[in-house]
């Protein structure tokens, strides 16, 4: 059997997810034998006629050039997997989307309006078809390995579509929201084994939201009743999932 070709690409982001993958060496050793992995930290070095069975793509898209590259990757790959919050939801750099315009940001950062053309930070799915999403900032090592084995077996992995609260209960954590902290667990997909609440701190929502399922309005109501300021709630919601329409709308 021909070794499946896997490409790992990065756009605007911290490359933390790629690091996470490359740091998996011990576990990957088993996999690597079965794979032909190519990594491109700065997607620019993409070789034109390469083709991939699976492309893991990290980072959000912020320039026309990146968009073009992404489309190229899509065309050359059978499956495209978005990894990390930036690729999945647009990342922290999207947290001001819809509030502060890109040109204003440019003025603030570079002192001039048109240094180069730049987009609001958007998830990959805004530009190309994404077959599977591995969310998180950074992604979970175990989840990545599990997804990789599924893909190698020929299946699209099963996405986590239940909230962090479930994992909290499975781990018998007390609830930090009931204990008075603003926990985003109820609207954030699990998969991290309730990493933060298990340490007694609130979930900051680094895995985004559950598309079409998270009860944003109810959560805002619950947070309000728990005594949290409106602006604080808004800021917290926007941190990792500002591009989610229901969150983008929050006044």
């Amino acid at each position: 059997m021909k070794k499946p070709r896997v490409g790992i690409f990065g756009f605007t982001g911290c490359a933390g997810d790629q690091l996470m993958i490359l740091n998996l060496e011990d576990e990957l050793l088993d996999l690597v034998g079965a794979l032909d992995i190519k990594s491109f930290t700065m997607a620019s070095s993409l070789v034109e006629d390469d083709e991939y069975d699976v492309a893991f793509v990290e980072g959000s898209i912020t320039t026309p050039k990146q968009k073009e590259k992404l489309e190229q990757i899509r065309n050359k790959s059978k499956l495209l997997v978005a990894i990390g919050d930036c690729a999945a939801w647009g990342g922290v750099q999207a947290s001001c989307n819809g509030i502060v315009s890109v040109s204003k940001k440019m003025v603030e950062v570079y002192g001039s309006r048109n240094v180069w053309e730049i987009y609001e930070s958007k998830p990959l799915s805004a530009y190309v078809k994404v077959d599977f999403v591995l969310p998180g900032c950074p992604i979970e090592k175990e989840e990545f390995l599990r997804a990789a084995t599924s893909l190698l077996h020929g299946d699209i992995p099963e996405a986590v579509d239940y909230p962090v609260c479930v994992e909290c209960k499975l781990r018998e954590n007390g609830c930090v929201l009931l204990e008075g902290r603003l926990c985003l667990g109820p609207i954030t997909p699990g998969g991290c084994k309730a990493r933060c609440p298990s340490l007694g701190v609130d979930c900051i929502g680094c895995r985004g939201v559950i598309d079409g399922e998270s009860r944003i309005k109810s959560a805002i109501e619950v947070f309000k009743e728990a005594g949290f300021e409106k602006d604080y709630v808004k800021k917290r919601l926007r941190m990792f999932a500002a591009n989610y329409p229901e969150i983008l709308e929050v006044k």
């Binding site: 077996h153 299946d155 099963e158």
Partner: protein
């Protein structure tokens, strides 16, 4: 015995049915009742409930599977000689004893033809014990017809009367309509009731997508068919198949049932009195 452990079973034959459906002949006989289902397992992917589409009178178990998700896609990748895990048969099956001596009307749409085929084969093999058999089958177009050879042969036979409706006309459908104008028409399956004389003494079996079921149900009731003589199958998410995991539960309030254990076959009366059965997309 541990009911949760599947038995490895060899796939003997795979036959394409439509672009998205395949028929698998399995190296196992289960003595099932038509209408029962098995849990099919692909290690590392998961399990999925599928109706047995062959009659116990025909020997090996056959299943016809539509490719829709993880398990079904993985199954479609397998060919003859490969192994799958099987548990079952589960479920109540159709009350064929009750139907003995009477005419049977089978109504099928889409993948619903799979369980109906099991009943049909059974009735054909026990022809003497039952009255007339009518099959009303609704398809999108010829490419989506299941068991093509068998259906075409039956259209031409006296053993049973086949009525066929199709939504999109193609060459084959057109030919069939010309050949059997009194039994083939364009439209949804309920249109066939304009061509069939319903005998209120008959029994009916209805399998198809949920929307289709309610249309057929209404149509038959309006035409004076007693709904207590009508049987249908329900499809729900299933994980265990044996009344434990409670995913398949239907009904709200004091009337709750397990589709896997109390069903998947329910009578028209049960379907009518159970609440919360609406299918939402």
């Amino acid at each position: 015995m541990n009911e949760l452990i599947p038995k490895p079973v060899k796939i003997l034959k795979v036959k394409d049915q439509t672009p998205i459906e395949k028929l698998f002949t399995l190296g196992v006989k289960l003595g099932q009742k038509p209408g029962q289902f098995i849990e099919m397992s692909i290690a590392g992917v998961g399990e999925a409930p599928v109706s047995i589409c062959s009659s116990p009178t025909r020997g090996n178990v056959e299943v016809c599977v539509r490719r829709v998700g993880r398990v079904t896609n993985a199954l479609h990748r397998l060919g003859a000689g490969a192994r799958v895990g099987v548990r079952g048969p589960y479920g109540n099956g159709f009350p064929l004893e009750k139907m003995r001596g009477s005419e049977v009307v089978l109504v099928a749409g889409g993948i619903g033809m799979a369980p109906v085929r099991a009943v049909l084969q059974y009735l054909l093999d026990k022809k003497k014990e039952y009255g007339e058999i009518k099959l009303l089958y609704g398809i999108r177009d010829y490419s989506m017809m299941l068991f093509k050879d068998e259906i075409l042969k039956l259209m031409n036979s006296k053993a049973c009367t086949v009525y066929l409706s199709y939504e999109k006309e193609d060459e084959v459908c057109k030919r069939l309509r010309k050949e059997y104008p009194e039994r083939v028409c364009q439209g949804v399956v309920t249109k066939l009731f304009e061509m069939v004389k319903l005998n209120p003494e008959a029994h009916a079996v209805v399998c198809g997508p949920p929307v289709m079921f309610w249309f057929v149900f209404k149509e038959m009731r309006n035409r004076g068919f007693p709904i207590e003589r009508l049987y249908m199958t329900l499809e729900r998410r299933m994980k265990c198949g044996i009344g434990k995991c409670k995913h398949c539960v239907v009904g709200v309030g004091s009337m709750m049932k397990y589709v896997c254990k109390d069903g998947p076959v329910f009578s028209g009366v049960e379907a009518l009195t159970m609440r919360g059965m609406k299918y939402v997309r």
